[in-house]
Symmetry: C2
Subunit: 167 residues, 2 copies
């Protein structure tokens, strides 16, 4: 469980933490790799969500994944970029949470992933939670917490019992 006062400073609200779907660059399942490469080149993220025709979340694709798909031992076969579809090579083992997520799950996952996908119960893509948003909260805590609150060491249990016996 996350401390209540820490949580309040870490996030304004769970809602503002999510960058909404309409602001996130995505690619389609049946797009070819050359289209995905174009999106990844112009977008600032190193990987983007892959959605199906219904805007349901299906996977992630990154530039390294695309490059690996067109490389063999001898060389890079760039002509394959126009042949291979995104769904053939995308990563389907991606981190996601539902809209009523627990902040502690997101915090834990963000240690290992650049962003966490948010979906609804029917798997429609709702947005992402980025490391950057949490780091804004870390900055607030680092600078403000001990200004806002009096922080005192807790008396360890053992010591407390000992003192009780003495008095």
């Amino acid at each position: 469980m996350i401390g209540k006062k820490i949580r309040n400073l870490l996030v304004d609200s769970e809602k503002t933490l999510v960058k909404p779907a309409e602001e996130v660059a995505v690619v389609g399942l049946k797009n070819r790799l050359n289209h995905a490469l174009l999106i990844l080149t112009t977008d600032k993220y190193a990987l983007v969500p892959v959605l199906d025709d219904q805007s349901k979340m299906r996977g992630l694709i990154s530039m390294p994944t695309i490059m690996q798909a067109i490389m063999n031992i001898e060389d890079v076969q760039f002509e394959k970029l126009g042949e291979i579809e995104v769904r053939e090579v995308m990563d389907t083992n991606y981190p996601y949470v539902y809209e009523d997520f627990e902040l502690e799950d997101v915090l834990r996952m963000l240690v290992n992933y650049a962003f966490i996908t948010v979906v609804d119960k029917d798997n429609y893509f709702k947005g992402i939670i980025t490391r950057s948003e949490i780091l804004k909260g870390t900055n607030r805590i680092a600078h403000e917490f001990e200004k806002l609150y009096d922080v005192k060491d807790k008396t360890p249990e053992k010591e407390r019992l000992y003192n009780k016996g003495r008095w």
Copy 2:
């Protein structure tokens, strides 16, 4: 200034925060883009430091930068990968700190950058500080801080003066 008790939980020590140079994938100034592309494909980071012959820090290079360098309005000219050198297209406007960095500078910079470069006073590359390391600290604070410390609202100055007048 960062609160002292928050800092203690945020980082084990400023030293362990830095991933040392020998564990970081890098490319050389005069490497061609095809070599950089290979490093970026096998490395897990989306961008890598560019060093000169003396291992001094000179820039960063990412896959989007490489792709932009070989694209024009009509098509992607992959043959250019073997011609262009890294130094011609690298980003020289990168975030860096010295080894005796202030944690608050690093925290602030990590909101906007995936990692911060660490150099010594002669600009030799010493390592990087990643968002992931800070997020480990954020997790510790979220879970442990209010267990370790008694946290109480500070009496606001105004209220304190008012109370003083009354008694």
